[in-house]
């Protein structure tokens, strides 16, 4: 087909360039924000995904590690081990505390101290970029973002809960949006928290994860029979609970920004189409006069809208991919995740933008009076 839509659009390349640029900007804004959103999910649940625990045993009614601290008495591991299908039980002691960096005066920052069983390594860091993975008493492995922000390195010290800890390792992907994980021995953690008889969770490995849900119920029942009220969650349930916390906290901030990006896109495409339609209004009247029906006219506007939208999307996606690489270099606490889901959501948004943006120009074309072709 002789594409009058594209011919008209490409006839004014300056305007087309501005429109595509505007849509690309809107796309980049949306994709980057959605990418930050996905990135927060990924980073925040990375610890749970990487830790070798099929079940998390916590205090009844407490379903994540962020809101309220779960407290359980020590020594339940032998009880849990009695349940059929349980392979290993590990202790998890962790909570957020204020840490002082001795190298930087007056510098305090919240870190999430995790005390883990250094003999099995379960619950500890999984990837180290510098130093060693397993700390001893009086030692700590800190996160890369924390180390960069505070300018600390191996051999420096931090102080948490009155306990001085020497940095022996720097871990990767252990940053959770507002604070980072710091890994110590479970003995040091108990000293920092002043809770020698309690811990926060038991991490359970099972023989066959297929039966994890059934084993969880059995653990709950066994502990309840001993007078301990506990909830046992599968790894996925525990991850989902953390995602829900993030969703509650950040969707209210990010969603309006994504919507702003969407409306910028609609406005840019809409204005371009509207001005292009007005400029060629006489020519649309000619088309109507020679017999073009409403469908033909609608297709012209839609084709123009989709052309701008798709070109803008391609440019915006390329810019977003570049931003995903650049942002962590400038702000290491942010991880922009451009995944297939992000691309699909953004593409659907662009299609929606194009449709919305076409409505007013289509209405304008419907009203074009073909009789005006006889006017001078």
């Amino acid at each position: 087909m002789v594409s009058i839509a594209r011919k008209n659009l490409f006839h004014d390349r300056g305007r087309l360039l501005i429109s595509v640029g505007g849509v690309a900007f809107a796309t980049m804004l949306m994709m980057t924000l959605i990418g930050v959103y996905y990135g927060i999910f990924t980073e925040s649940t990375m610890y749970l995904k990487k830790t070798r625990a099929d079940l998390w045993v916590g205090q009844e009614g407490i379903h994540d590690t962020w809101h309220t601290y779960s407290l359980l008495p020590k020594g339940l591991d032998t009880e849990i081990m009695q349940v059929g299908g349980v392979k290993e039980v590990h202790e998890f002691i962790g909570r957020a505390v204020m840490a002082e960096v001795s190298k930087v005066s007056e510098s305090k920052e919240t870190v999430f101290i995790i005390g883990f069983d250094t003999s099995s390594g379960v619950g500890g860091p999984w990837e180290i970029i510098k130093g060693k993975k397993i700390p001893r008493r009086g030692q700590v492995v800190v996160d890369r973002v924390f180390a960069m922000r505070k300018g600390i390195d191996i051999g420096d010290t931090i102080k948490a809960g009155g306990v001085e800890l020497t940095v022996v390792g720097i871990s990767k992907d252990t940053f959770v949006l507002v604070y980072s994980y710091a890994f110590v021995t479970k003995e040091d953690a108990a000293e920092i928290f002043g809770a020698r008889d309690f811990l926060n969770y038991y991490m359970v490995e099972v023989e066959n994860p297929f039966f994890a849900k059934k084993i969880a119920t059995n653990i709950e029942n066994r502990l309840r029979a001993r007078g301990i009220k506990a909830d046992v969650l599968t790894k996925q349930e525990f991850i989902d609970n953390h995602k829900e916390v993030i969703d509650e906290s950040f969707s209210v901030i990010l969603l309006p920004l994504v919507l702003i990006g969407f409306f910028i896109g609609v406005t840019v495409i809409g204005l371009t189409l509207y001005t292009a339609t007005l400029e060629k209004i006489k020519e649309y009247a000619i088309l109507k006069a020679i017999g073009a029906g409403e469908g033909f006219m609608v297709r012209i506007v839609m084709e123009q809208a989709f052309t701008i939208g798709i070109l803008g999307f391609l440019c915006g996606a390329a810019l977003s991919l570049a931003a995903a690489r650049l942002v962590p270099a400038v702000a290491p606490e942010f991880y922009v995740e451009i995944n297939s889901s992000n691309l699909v959501v953004s593409f659907v948004a662009i299609i929606a933008m194009s449709i919305f943006a076409s409505l007013v120009p289509i209405r304008k074309l419907e009203r074009v009076d073909p009789a005006t072709v006889f006017q001078a």
Partner: protein
């Protein structure tokens, strides 16, 4: 009869400000006939062409195109009727500025649903026959007035319509170019089509089989026409 108008009236506005642009006009045009519609500015010629084209509904009266009463048709049916039966030629050429001469001529065929390949072949043949073989890939802005009007004539006849409606087709052309355009229209009429042409241009008279005179919205006898 290919075109028949019976007591056609078009009133713009209402009450004291009402204007009768066309007032009780009746006429008919047969196949193979070229009719010239003459009259001063404001006499209602263009309004009458607009009514015959189905682009405007008359206030009263009936208009038949090839036996079909068009005042009762829907907008969609009227668009189809124009596409199938009528070719338009305008004073200001009215070509689509972003399209080449060839694409302009292809456009009615494309709207009609003809394949791109066939539309291209037919448009190329027609433009070549009109002496525009070397100009078909140019945009309208790169063509002279005479060339633009020949492209417009090609666009009007490419679908082989039975009726050609032209409004001042020679007004913006010199006498030579005007004659060339009229010859092209006359040739089509010779092939069994009909044409109605509104014009001030006395040179067009020699191409007409019949002249209708219009004044104050009404058709006049030649002897009454001032």
């Amino acid at each position: 009869m290919l075109i028949e108008a019976k007591g056609v009236t078009k009133v713009y506005g209402s009450g004291r400000t009402a204007v009768r642009a066309v007032n009780g006009v009746s006429f008919s045009i047969d196949r193979g006939e070229l009719v010239l519609l003459m009259g001063p500015s404001g006499s209602g010629k263009t309004t009458l062409l607009t009514l015959i084209s189905g682009l405007l509904k008359p206030t009263s009266g009936e208009i038949y195109i090839d036996g079909v009463e068009i005042t009762e048709l829907s907008q969609k049916e009227l668009a189809r009727l124009r596409l199938e039966k009528i070719g338009f030629i305008f004073q200001h050429f009215n070509l689509l500025s972003a399209l080449t001469a060839l694409e302009n001529v292809m456009m009615p065929l494309i709207i009609k649903g003809v394949s791109k390949e066939e539309a291209r072949t037919r448009a190329e043949e027609l433009l070549a026959a009109f002496g525009l073989a070397g100009r078909m890939h140019h945009l309208p802005e790169d063509l002279s007035g005479g060339e633009q009007q020949r492209v417009a004539v090609a666009r009007a006849v490419v679908t082989e319509p039975e009726i050609i409606i032209a409004d001042e087709p020679t007004a913006n052309l010199d006498s030579k170019k005007g004659r060339e355009v009229m010859e092209l229209i006359r040739e089509r009429v010779g092939q069994g089509k009909s044409a109605i042409i509104a014009s001030h241009d006395p040179r067009v008279k020699s191409f007409a089989d019949r002249v209708l005179y219009m004044e104050d919205g009404m058709l006049k006898a030649p002897e009454e026409y001032q």
